[in-house]
Symmetry: C2
Subunit: 243 residues, 2 copies
């Protein structure tokens, strides 16, 4: 079923109106009167609606049923990624959204080659958020993951450790596996933190450990910086029973 995202303010109880990009999209899809569509507020609520009227730039809908989204994961997983080079962050945002992450948080670490300046960042953040919205729509999600940018590794640690379980992946860790970490304790929120191309520094890993994070391996093979977060996210979703 076709899925549209509107703002929470636009999610009215009985009648909804699609305008702007949504109306354009509906036109491309040649929606017909009576057809059913799903409208999501991007925060996990959705309405099953029927098209009641189609006019230029505006589609009117009748709300038939309102429900919590059925496609959001029960465990909220945040992906923390040190700024990578090139367009790898865009790739990770798209894939992590499909795989069910609730947010993607980018931050600088000491070996990051790429550090967007404040000026370019605003534009980039808009672009990244659009990628998340588009991937959420395509993959049938009920919520659009938020893309967050933090100014420092210190801020990343502070924020990541607010989750029930916070895990950092380090290529020099040999003993502690992700499975050991996930089998311990109760958690509804998980943070997964990975480094940039050159990896995290030993001192950065030490600080994460002191802040209470679990330091885990992702196996014997060296994963690229854009592969590691998606591999970890897939494994967490598998572990918590998503598939």
């Amino acid at each position: 079923m076709t899925r549209f995202f509107v703002t929470p303010e636009e999610m009215l109880p009985e009648f909804l109106v699609l305008t702007g990009e949504n109306a354009k999209h509906a036109k491309v899809l040649r929606l017909k009167e009576g057809e059913e569509v799903l409208v999501c507020d991007g925060q996990g609520s959705e309405c099953l609606c029927a098209v009641s009227d189609i006019s230029e730039g505006q589609i009117s809908l009748v709300v038939k049923h309102r429900q919590e989204s059925q496609t959001e994961a029960a465990v909220r997983v945040s992906v923390y990624m040190a700024f990578p080079k090139g367009d790898k962050l865009e790739h990770v945002i798209q894939k992590a959204t499909e795989l069910g992450a609730c947010e993607i948080v980018a931050f600088p670490s000491s070996r990051c080659v790429s550090r967007p300046d404040d000026k370019s960042l605003k534009k980039k953040l808009e672009r990244w958020q659009k990628i998340a919205a588009s991937a959420a729509e395509q993959s049938g999600r009920g919520a659009i993951p938020e893309v967050v940018v933090l100014p420092s590794y210190t801020e990343a640690l502070k924020r990541a450790t607010r989750a029930d379980k916070a895990i950092l992946f380090y290529e020099n860790e040999r003993a502690v596996t992700l499975k050991m970490s996930l089998q311990t304790g109760d958690y509804r929120t998980v943070s997964l933190l990975t480094g940039p191309e050159g990896g995290l520094e030993a001192s950065e890993v030490e600080r994460a450990k002191e802040a209470g994070m679990d330091i885990c391996t992702l196996g014997k093979r060296i994963l690229r910086c854009e592969t590691a977060p998606l591999c970890a996210l897939s494994a967490v979703m598998y572990h918590v029973g998503e598939f």
Copy 2:
């Protein structure tokens, strides 16, 4: 440690010589006499060697120790992917190699838009095999996954079901999870089969079921055709204890 791949014939017991691309690569890395390197035969055996002599286009090595590769997964996982559009197969070959697949098998299915003809296929296959070799080197693997192309879906089913466990992922499957399948039986070899952009046809899924494959879901969200195999592969590696 730097890792070079040679042919099994070049893996001599006491002294090895790096030539061609390997010698060029060694020069770029500025290897010095006495330095240790790993030489792999691409099939799971490796030698710890010391550089004994460096001359134009040729690096001589003394074998110190020969061993089975430490970085290959205990379970051999084959990734079967219907031909996707564009360069997505290249992406999957690179990532599946990092994640530890033992082979990547491409085949046509009825909704494939892209079907390389025999003429272009030979060149493409060479390119794909190079991508696997390069990813194997970078990720520190002991074996280079083979890239295989099959002429039909029938051949793909026949080959995939030779594994101890053969799983097909289908977006319309709701009940059977990957976890249910992986928790059943003993297996040392696993096949994971996914469809093209438009998905597999119900009749194709039915044929796979009749051939003995497990039909599983990858969760409530719709994954892109290039995301699904990597998500599944990550989960299998996690399940069998790789990380």
